[in-house]
């Protein structure tokens, strides 16, 4: 039991790569995460996105490609930049995660890709009419199809984490918004800012090569839950991901 604080202290002593705090030095509430932990987060992100890709490819009946982008810490004010800047317009699906590991899961599709996505999940027989671009032009069926995509991708992602970490994760129902990145990320910042100046972000991307459809997935664990996230060991993760890949 006594070993734990020591281990934490050792982790803290190892400074992480690039915690950039533009214009001001990191404050007392800036999080420091060891490089080894970020490596673990990266593997978790891979496992989550892998599961999400499997789920998505089964829905649309096409193979998908997976791209695990990064796991890193960001000053809160830079979170909107992680997804193309605050003014980029996206279709966002957001899930709040409760349970042993709290956090937010955000799935983004570019504005231009919304019609592509809808065509994949709700193919319309014999109609060549172009789908309208925004949320206003969408009917109830299309809205609920998008929410369902959020549900399936989100739960697939979280299931992988849940299995690897041995913890129970309870996702909220998804929320849907068609808006600017800044507007769809600032509720995350509000949640985090109450306890920290830094966000830990696990970023990955699922792509459908034929249509060019891309879903960017961001998981932002709550700072209080980082201990849960860091307790996995690489050797526990590797074989399972590998065996699943072989299975498909």
């Amino acid at each position: 039991m006594k070993k734990r604080p020591q281990r934490r202290a050792a982790r803290r002593a190892r400074p992480i790569a690039r915690t950039r705090h533009a214009g001001r030095p990191p404050g007392p509430r800036a999080l420091r995460v060891a490089r080894a932990d970020l490596g673990r987060f990266h593997l978790l992100s891979e496992a989550g996105a892998h599961n999400a890709a499997i789920a998505m490819s089964q829905i649309i009946g096409r193979p998908l490609r997976l791209d695990v982008r990064w796991a890193k810490t960001l000053p809160l004010e830079e979170v909107a930049d992680m997804a193309g800047g605050a003014s980029r317009v996206v279709c966002a699906l957001s899930l709040k995660v409760y349970g042993d590991l709290r956090g937010h899961l955000l799935m983004l599709f570019s504005r231009e890709q919304l019609p592509v996505l809808l065509d994949l999940v709700l193919p319309r027989a014999g109609s060549d009419a172009k789908r309208p671009g925004g949320l206003q032009g969408m009917d109830e069926m299309e809205r609920s199809a998008l929410l369902e995509i959020g549900n399936i991708l989100g739960c697939a992602y979280l299931n992988a984490l849940s299995r690897l970490l041995g913890v129970s994760l309870l996702p909220s129902i998804p929320g849907l918004a068609f808006d600017m990145v800044g507007a769809v990320t600032d509720h995350l910042l509000i949640d985090l800012a109450a306890v920290s100046d830094t966000a830990v972000v696990l970023a990955s991307e699922v792509q459908e090569p034929a249509s060019g459809l891309r879903c960017e997935i961001f998981f932002l664990p709550h700072p209080d839950s980082l201990g849960v996230l860091a307790r996995t060991h690489e050797r526990e993760i590797e074989p399972r991901v590998a065996s699943r890949s072989r299975g498909r």
Binding site: G27, R29, L76, E77, E78, V79, A80, G85, A86, S87, V89, S94, K96, G134, Q136, S172, I173, P174, G175, L176, A177, F178, D179, M180, V181, G182, A183, V184, T185, D186, H187, L189, I190, A193, A194, V195, D197
Partner: protein, 160 residues
């Protein structure tokens, strides 16, 4: 043509005309713009939370209470008159409909209330506001005429 200075989450800036300040993609956060039309000086903050947890002193722009006080103080330092200061408030949306099940005030509502309360305490009259709703806003504050231009992904810009 002045290039607007962009304010990210938790940032605050006070400057004289002909400066411009912009916040891209304001969701549940709140923008408070305080301005004196005489010397044409004012500032804006991109506020995340109603008030600081505990006795934190850094990040003045992040909290409604500290941001309003800091803008007023800095504007006066740059030549604004306390009694002539006017405020415009925007933001505080509820971005995701999942939040709508919650009857309690949303984070956006709390931010709006805290900003209005802080302005009232600082005796700054609120002359315009564009708050709430379910969509994000991009707001541009123009120090040369004191206007606040609000754009959403849905429609035409609105000037208040």
């Amino acid at each position: 043509m002045t290039r607007p200075r962009s304010l990210r989450a938790g940032e605050l800036k006070v400057l004289p005309a002909p400066g411009k300040l912009v916040i891209h993609g304001l969701g549940s956060c709140v923008a408070v713009f305080v301005y004196d039309a005489g010397p044409r000086v004012g500032g804006m903050a991109h506020i995340l939370l109603p008030g600081p947890p505990g006795k934190e002193t850094g990040n003045l722009g992040r909290y409604a209470t500290t941001a309003v006080a800091a803008i007023v103080e800095e504007s006066i330092r740059l030549g604004a008159r306390r009694k002539a200061l006017r405020a415009k408030v925007a933001g505080g949306s509820r971005m995701f409909v999942i939040d709508s099940g919650a009857p309690r005030p949303t984070v956006g509502d709390k931010n709006i209330q805290a900003a209005l309360r802080a302005l009232q305490e600082a005796r700054v009259e609120v002359v315009a506001h564009d708050v709430g709703g379910e969509q994000g806003r991009t707001v541009v504050a123009d120090l040369s005429d004191g206007s606040l231009t609000i754009t959403t992904v849905r429609g035409d810009p609105r000037v208040v």
